[in-house]
Amino acid sequence: MAKMNMVQAINSAQDVMLEKDNSVVIFGEDVGYFGGVFNCTEGLQKKHGLQRVFDTPIAEGGIIAMAIGMGVNEMRPVAEIQFSDYIYPAFDQILSEASRLRYRSGGEYWAPITVRTPCGGGIRGGQTHSQSPEGIFTHVSGIKTIMPSNPYDAKGLLISAIEDNDPVVFFEPKRLYNGPFYGDPKDPPQAWEKHELGEVPEGHYTIPIGKANTVRKGTQMTIVTYGTMVHVSTAAADLSGYDVEVIDLRTLIPMDLEHIVESVTRTGRCLVVHEATKTGGFGAEILSQIQEECFWALEAPIERVAGWDLPYPHAFEWEYFPGKARVLDAIKHVMEG
């Protein structure tokens, strides 16, 4: 075991897979010599060579198209999209091609690609470096969508994603790269080395895709969340005075509905929390499925805390970001009506 932050854990996952499997290659804008703008590929080109970890033209659509072609030709490419805000030029390749290939070809062709991309706000990135577009991808049949919340999960899930034979979009909440974030920018920065999930095995291990994780046990209500909001929700739960269970989805698609239903059936109350904008967000899907499965066990309406339905506003980051106070209010509202 070693102390790793999320950047190091993601780097380590790629390092392990480059070592283990010659069909793995890593590419993207600035990922080669420079090691990526967030250092997630630092040192990998030097260690594994120019032809296995390399830079690409600034063309996200081309990056994903190349990955698909390589995937069809027996390789396991890992493509980095520098910010998830830049993923849209690649959307057609992800939606119309990667996600449809196995289906439309009657199972003759597929492309086992992993698309890594930093997402989320809280870093003063303005609207082009802060978005959480996961809900656009969860709506697409044929791609798996993952968003880890800590170094241990990030490495295990990324290895699973690379080894998976389906296309995976792997969102990395960049606010969590260096430490957990509990939703208050005035708090001193936290480091992963003091967190138990900053203990990461150095070698190969996997965390199964499609399995949620209960990060805080509780009996009175369930918060279903993922990414940065796992930590914000846990902090709010700690302050609430209620016995709140917090579930970290880890994988959005396929969603671990069974895990959620078991919890909500037991607690009878539920709050869904995500950073992405509210309307049409993935929270709406979670809520809807819980309602279908748990209606008769519910003691209060399910609520959502999410980003406001706005582009991410630079100067109003902390009014926009669904912080601890908003989650705490929602917990109280669900509990007290």
Partner: protein, 410 residues
Amino acid sequence: MVPHSAKNLNVPAPRHRPGEKPEFDDLDISNAGALPRPHVMSDPKELFPFANGIIRVLNMKGQAHGEWDPKLDPEVLRQGLRDMLTTRIYDDRMQNMQRVGKMSFYMKSRGEEAVAVAQAMALDKDDMLFPSYRQQGLLISRGRDLLDMMNHCLSNAGDNCKGRQLPIMYTWKEGNFFSISGNLGTQFCQAVGWAVASSYKGEDAIASTWIGEGTTATADFHHGMTFAAVYDAPVLLNVVNNQWAISSFQGFAGGEKATFASRGIGYGMPGLRVDGNDFLAVYAVTKWAAERARNGGGPTLIELFTYRADAHSTSDDPTKYRPEDEARVWPLGDPVERLKGHLIEIGEWSEERHTQAMAEITSLVTQKYKQAEALGTLNTGERPPVSSMFEDVFEEMPDNLRRQRQQLGV
């Protein structure tokens, strides 16, 4: 309101519209044999004349001229002619079957048969094909059973795409033929990725991809060009310039400003423009580019200058946007007639043999179609099992799809 006093706004218009007499006299067409054949590893800078001229071997009298003549064995030429005829007769039959409601949609390749057939013959069987939607000749040349192609178009129980794709969006892994997408251009840079992987693995196989001239306007085209150039990908990037993108003529892709082949110049790769209705020239140019790619020379952009002689698909009527007889007066003729003429000219074919070959192929197509229809059509007979529609979304079926399948009761 804004003032409307347009000064320098150019909205391109084609040479002729319905009711007008089509003429192509001023089209700048090189003579057969006029252009030399450069060394396959030539510096792209020396190849500019090939992007602006038209590489031709066969003149309109069926005689072969010049350095590009691949000097193919007559048996190879007869095979090429037979495959082009098969493509044409297959197309006609399928279009007719669409017209009588046996399938939802069809797209013919009339006038462009030499593009697919000659290129397939010039490539190796291991080379990977990333086609667009009008290269069914690739399948026919590589020996796919017509019955399998028909089963796909009819979406019946024999469809290897399991009834999920529109007719003509073929997939054939065994023949190294990629899955056709209805989204134009998306396969262009994927072919580059496939070729890069081939380089990475140290293999000899190359990729070849096709895009229409209209689709060169997409970002995908430029992605493919950039990535292929940057990584020296062993790939043939073919632009089939058939003059028309549904009702938009090639001017809307910028074809009046520069040739499509000349797009290669800015990327530092050879751009070769070839008479797409000249079987020998298409074959020779494809061989040249394939040899270059296999020798580490990287990608070549090939513009296949041709004419779409029929409608875009069964959903449009070309007489609404171009003169009815434009195809007939196309100065580069018809690819089947030209190869036939050449074979007769060199004494290796005759009208009688041609008539006989057509009859044989027509009979084969009819027989295959009867077998396919007996299995099922979109509306009758056997379809793939309904439960199969929930398969292959992922490698393993997730719970939500299992539940939805149960909900449908299949």
